[in-house]
Symmetry: C2
Subunit: 345 residues, 2 copies
DNA sequence: CTTAGCACTCACCATAACCGAGTGCTAATA
DNA sequence: TATTAGCACTCGGTTATGGTGAGTGCTAAG
């Protein structure tokens, strides 16, 4: 992007001002609030250029300018100086009571932490069942032909799967098979388990075929079987009511649009998936991505890991007009805290 | 309530009209749309009486009248004729794909069913862990001092509880204890288990004390440990975005208020609890109850059972101005379907 | 290239006028 | 005595009008 020093300074000032006030920015305001040693008229000329280049837009002819998505992108990529998280807020994150004991609960608490810090909507995507390593696999015979498969991951994620057994395969058989299968399947991800299961079936057609086919058929996969399909993780969404206090979303139709988007979780999940491998914090702005294209809505996302392996992603959703220099470190720090928590034994 | 025939007819007409149009009802409208053989002036006199008695209110002097909460209460208790559910809708409920396989999923699907039928917000309260009978209890030793308690109810509700064992109590011990404890504890509700556990501890101080105390301490209870406390069931809420299309809630502040109320789930849970033992469908209107007192918001609630035992409640939340004669049978029928599903083996 | 000056635009706000649905009251009527 | 017709009155909603001010684009001078 060929912007000279001065234009960049002005663009930066405009965005900062707009982020702070939510008001369209005029040329006078710029010269007054930011000491640039330049007259309003000059600023106007440059603003006209910036508008031509697609960085600014006018709500109407006689209003000030407003940054476009393109401007935010440029701002984040080259203009933004991310401040370190103030000591006090860092403490707040560290001391937030995140309990490991129950996994779903941990996810919920994390969304709440994100929401309360950023005042936007916190989201956390749980690890995908298909890609988490399960340390323990256990089969519990129930009454009749029913049995329960229990999967427990290193990090304490528990998944259950109800199985309907072959009539010829009794509860007693299951109990015997249990040890063997636990040994064979534990320490593997779901995909790896599938592979191993087909191997086993090839090796020994007779013994466990009955059980194993059931296991494969019934999805064989733990996790919520929602419309999103079992291969995706579950999405936890924080306090949506934060949205009501954001001036950008004062409009009922806008809020409605956002809520609808939240109810179609799979699109949001796809977007969060794209941040899964990236290092550090990523920002998605408004309409620039096909998965969650809503004018004026941005996502700040980071992945969390357990012992180096990516588990899932978390972040906040808010207006594009967002104080990125504070929100980014918040998301970053929260991801680190969650990572540490997941890595602890 | 001493209302003569004619006054009741007029009140009924007013409420019906208001439910249908969401507009304040004037005296002329009544005489035109409902053949009561009476002049507007007479209607006005009666309306004045009804207002004095607290059944009607005027938004402002020169507007028509609007029913109060008291009017809706009277309407539901004595005026309403609930129609049978039309064949077609009944089929829709019956054929809705409710899967028993995964319990949480079943709850979610049920909220969705309620929402899509009523166009209001469907809610389903899951059985309280403390009061469900668990058919199977199983302890799964994990690595280190950790172990998992798995509870499975008759209806297929699965709950997990992570335990931290006494160091002196090994995984091997647990395996041995497993059979014994499963036998002792299965077929009981949580409360009953607690009793039995204390009994066991009295009988035999040495053997399982280590495990049992951990079990009791860690809450010993399955279920989500949210702010609502473990003794309450979990609440599933359907598609909230239905709220945006309800004219009564066109106002941003009103919607905000409702969303806040939803985020404080425990109050809603307390209210739903009150309907747990009642037979049939119950209606809670606006501010008439202390747990969820929101002007203009009503709940239609019924309980669902498995083999005669109450499991939980479900219903819809919408404006007090609600076509009760269609919503009530919808809730009723859904509760019956869910009950049947839970009773099937 | 920058800047002062100036005419122009347009959302926003307040005021005023009008309309109409609806009311309460009174007096006539059955 | 209960009902009804008639009428003046109320008041929210809509539309028209004009003023205000922040902001712009353009032009010409520095």
């Amino acid at each position: 992007m060929d912007l000279n020093e001065r234009s960049r300074g002005i663009l930066k000032a405009i965005i900062n001002s707009y982020i702070a006030t939510a008001e369209p920015v005029g040329s006078r305001t710029i010269t007054k609030r930011y000491e640039l040693g330049i007259s309003p008229a000059t600023v106007r000329n440059i603003m006209a250029d910036l508008e031509e280049m697609g960085f600014l837009a006018q709500p109407h002819t006689s209003a000030g300018r407003v940054p476009t998505g393109k401007a935010y992108r440029f701002y984040i990529d080259t203009l933004l100086e991310v401040r370190a998280l103030p000591r006090q807020q860092e403490q707040e994150i560290m001391n937030y009571p995140l309990h490991r004991s129950e996994f779903g609960q941990l996810m919920k608490e994390t969304t709440r932490l994100l929401s309360s810090l950023s005042h936007y909507v916190g989201v956390v995507m749980a690890p995908k069942p298909a890609e988490t390593v399960y340390r323990h696999v256990e089969f519990v015979p129930l009454s009749g032909r029913r049995a329960l498969a229990v999967f427990v991951s290193e990090a304490g994620i528990i998944h259950n799967r109800m199985l309907l057994l072959d009539p010829e395969f009794t509860a007693r058989d299951l109990e015997r098979a249990n040890n063997f299968l636990s040994r064979e399947l534990s320490g593997k991800t779901l995909s790896q388990m599938r592979e191993r299961v087909t191997e086993l079936m090839d090796e020994d057609r007779s013994r466990y075929t009955g059980l194993l086919t059931t296991l494969m058929q019934s999805g064989g996969e733990p996790g919520e079987h929602g419309e999103q399909g079992a291969s995706e993780g579950e999405l936890y969404v924080g306090s949506m009511s934060e949205l009501f206090d954001i001036p950008d979303f004062r409009d009922l139709d806008k809020i409605k649009e956002i809520f609808h988007a939240f109810e179609e979780k799979h699109r949001l999940i796809q977007l969060l998936d794209r941040a899964v491998e990236a290092e550090g914090v990523q920002v998605f702005i408004g309409a620039e991505n096909p998965y969650f294209d809503m004018e004026g809505v941005s996502l700040v996302v980071a992945s969390y890991r357990a012992e180096g392996n990516v588990m899932g992603t978390l972040g906040v959703i808010g207006p594009s007009r967002m104080p990125y220099n504070t929100v980014i470190p918040i998301v970053d720090c929260t991801a680190k805290v969650l990572s540490r928590l997941m890595s602890e034994r």
